[in-house]
Symmetry: C2
Subunit: 214 residues, 2 copies
């Protein structure tokens, strides 16, 4: 056997991973308040491109952390994303994670209106109360609809995490969100995913946990 | 607004995505029996590297499809992977998707033995009956333990999908699986993920559905 395993204790794997990421970033300077988030996305994807493609609106980190502290809930466009977000950590601040994609009324609305279910699930969120974070890791149609609802003044998210992945209107949907005045974290280009959306949510949660000393 | 959206009907987005992927692959020839699977992984990740990094054991496609037809269940190492696999499609052939990561006995065994929960969840699968597919999208420790159990003759998977992502022993764990005699689909290198694991499972299911005319 020529394969040699690195001897790392289970509890140290994540720490060691972040050390490797930091080392490989080398002289590359990340903005201090965003470094932990960017590294967590790289940790989730093993893709250093995110150091270049992640885009942040002005003051978004503070606004995002405040939203969570104020009990913001997260609406996401896939069950995978919902699975990946640390719901226990979010619940400590009063928020919950919602995904409406499998809801019967969403399927029905999508059929009736000839939209994707992702669009119908964003429309379902319009009537929700309290601060909302949208974590879109899959459907550009969701992000486009969100853009329209923001422009129409019908919804005012505390944060939009815009990281759908793919080939049809993915790049465009992200550019649209970056034209709005809402706080955003966007992965420019085609890449992203439910895993990246969840990683960004969790990075924010762990930052807060840290300041609370846990 | 300078952003121009491509006008694609909801039901055509996936088809259009695959057309773009095929066009961008250009002269690059993919093995005919594996092209749909490789393209689905690219579709899920927007990462063309997978055309180079996906590795297949001899005859794995036929063996994998036969396993599903014979009612194989899928064991995966994340709830995200479980969320992403098309459980309805798998159920048509008699299989189910299992993830033991949140099980109390798994947490207890990991604590007791000083392993990751991923290792304990693989050990829990040893006593399962019937053909098993392991879809490992997160934990290299799970893949390493699977390798050991295979070498000890204690488990004989119908297929190992080895696509953990990350920085500590990820590359090595995949190389180990490729040293065994079990059928495998592996994404060489650091990249992979629960989304990639689910995409590979779904690609296999959709191939079968297609041959059954659905």
């Amino acid at each position: 056997m020529k394969v040699t395993l690195e001897n790392v204790l289970p509890g140290d794997i994540e720490k060691r991973s972040f050390e490797i990421i930091t080392a490989e970033l080398g002289d590359r300077k990340l903005p201090e308040d965003k470094a932990a988030l960017i590294k967590r996305v790289i940790h989730t994807s093993a893709d250093f491109e995110y150091a270049d493609t992640l885009c942040f609106s002005d003051g978004v980190m503070e606004k995002a952390l405040d939203a969570i502290k104020n009990g913001a809930s997260i609406v996401t466009d896939t069950q995978m994303g919902r699975s990946g977000i640390n719901k226990r950590s979010l619940a400590k601040y009063g928020g919950q994670v919602y995904c409406f994609m499998s809801d019967e009324d969403v399927a029905e609305a999508a059929r009736k209106n000839g939209t994707t279910r992702a669009v119908a699930s964003i429309e379902k969120a319009v009537s929700m109360e309290g601060p909302l974070i949208f974590a879109i890791g899959n459907a550009p149609t969701a992000l486009v609809r969100l853009y329209e609802l923001i422009e129409e003044g019908r919804i005012s998210p505390a944060l939009v995490i815009g990281v759908p992945v793919g080939f049809v209107n993915v790049v465009q949907s992200k550019e649209l969100i970056m034209e709005t005045d809402v706080p955003y974290i966007v992965a420019r280009g085609r890449k992203g995913g439910s895993n990246v959306a969840a990683a960004i949510c969790n990075a924010l949660l762990y930052m807060l946990d840290k300041t609370r000393g846990r």
